[in-house]
Point group: C2
Chain length 282, copies 2
């Protein structure tokens, strides 16, 4: 009944002796609770968010639906372990292309310990977070039956430069092979996937409007996942581009202040994506 | 011909043995160049900005007009010293109320030295910068002929809490005494100074639109100065509310990325000010 998800691009992955998420056939995604305060924090966030009447309905669609927690046999065979039960955003899709983007120039929060700040700041400086206001933390792009998926390993993704990020955001919406670095991405799906009234850009702009006003939550080290069905677009069907926020182990109370760290990074990502839509030929 | 300006709320001030800015009667403000790379940087910024055709005309009004540099007898009596010659924004005003707000949760830039980062980060954490995305770095509020100006010293301003900042942004547009902390600010000028088509909020929103798009400059440790004629408003005349960006010793090249640090802080300030306009009675 439970299985390891086919398409996971970031976070802990289930495997031999490794604790990771599971999915079932009914559209649920089971994320093992981290055993320290990160697990507690994430449950607390989902519980509070799912019942908070201040969150507008049109914003809820950007978050996975929360179905509580459940004890399951862990994927690493270590026995029963508590899991978050969430909406499975990915498994129903055929050959999805996925981008996981961690938002914010700072992944640490002001009240964090000195040691935690130093650790995060080092990584924010080594990756693109500090300069771009976001970093790509995982991706898989479907090419074709022949080439399959382009899914660089975590270390490669972490070492992406500014140019690599710009290129990845172009490859995500291109018809030509993502694996061949000699080919210039054609961005032929830019207007379909990023643009248009239901495209990713419109969704990001709706999210931005909320972040300009909401002072309830501050989302540190949280990702925007962008996904669409590459298979559908190849067949001329609706590729259903979607964004979802994921990873809430470091959400803090907003205390009446907007989340300027997340908002700044989100605006930077929006500018990168607008540039692709406005000028797909660079 | 040159004199020490009457109304200066932040930065180095001229005085006995101290090098500070001077003004003249023809509307010029002379800012002594800092002798290290900060002086060079600020001249380079003004020179490049004033000739950069990518900067829209409606944005230029938010920057002091630059009239080159000039060697002047320094205010500290140490002999000739190079000065930036700038538009004097303040001296023509009668009893102005002034707020100097340093924008950005981070006052240091990614390429800075380790020592500089640690120094700035410490101050950003001690002040409101990190939590609010901006901090008040100086202010003077005119009350009345009887009470004169409220101008807390630098140390008091630096130790402003979140609540102090919120209160200062309300006092700035209130008719009752800014010096008496027992009186609740009435915000009776909120709609005139912050609101309306020519108000401070409208100006900040216009600036925000530019920052969502411009990738030319990154403004670290730069301030938005907000000013209006308190005297005029008391007489029922146009108080001429205005914002200006000042202090460009730490402007960096944008390298094709928006200034998400400045933009995030600006959005946070806009939210604080919107709250005062929307609900002046708290």
């Amino acid at each position: 009944m439970f299985k390891v998800p086919d398409h996971q691009v970031a976070g802990h992955m289930a495997g031999a002796g490794a604790l990771g998420p599971l999915v079932d056939d009914s559209g649920h995604f089971y994320k093992p609770l981290q055993s320290d305060e990160r697990g507690t924090n994430e449950v607390a966030f989902y519980t509070s968010f799912s019942t908070d009447t201040r969150v507008p309905d049109q914003i809820r669609k950007f978050f996975p639906v929360f179905h509580g927690t459940r004890d399951l046999e862990a994927s690493d065979g270590s026995g029963m372990h508590p899991h978050l039960v969430l909406e499975d955003i990915i498994s129903s899709r055929i050959n999805p292309s996925i981008l996981d983007i961690k938002i914010g120039s700072s992944t640490w929060y002001p009240e964090a310990s000195e040691a935690y700040i130093i650790k995060c700041l080092k990584k924010d400086r080594e990756t693109c977070s500090l300069t771009l206001g976001f970093r790509i933390s995982g991706l898989q792009f479907y090419g074709s039956k022949e080439t399959g998926f382009w899914k660089p390993d975590r270390k490669s993704v972490n070492s992406f430069t500014h140019d690599d990020v710009r290129s990845a955001l172009r490859k995500f919406v291109s018809s030509n092979s993502p694996t061949n670095s000699d080919i210039e991405p054609d961005c032929s799906y830019a207007s379909t996937i990023y643009g248009g009234p239901d495209g990713i850009l419109a969704q990001l702009l709706e999210l931005k409007l909320w972040f300009e006003d909401q002072t309830i939550f501050h989302f540190y080290s949280c990702s925007v996942m962008m996904v669409y069905d590459k298979e559908s677009i190849l067949k001329g069907e609706n590729p259903n581009p979607q964004i979802k926020l994921v990873d809430f182990a470091h959400v803090m109370e907003g205390k009446g202040v907007i989340d300027h760290n997340f908002l700044g990074g989100l605006c930077s990502l929006i500018k990168f994506i607008s540039d692709v839509v406005t000028d797909p030929n660079k």
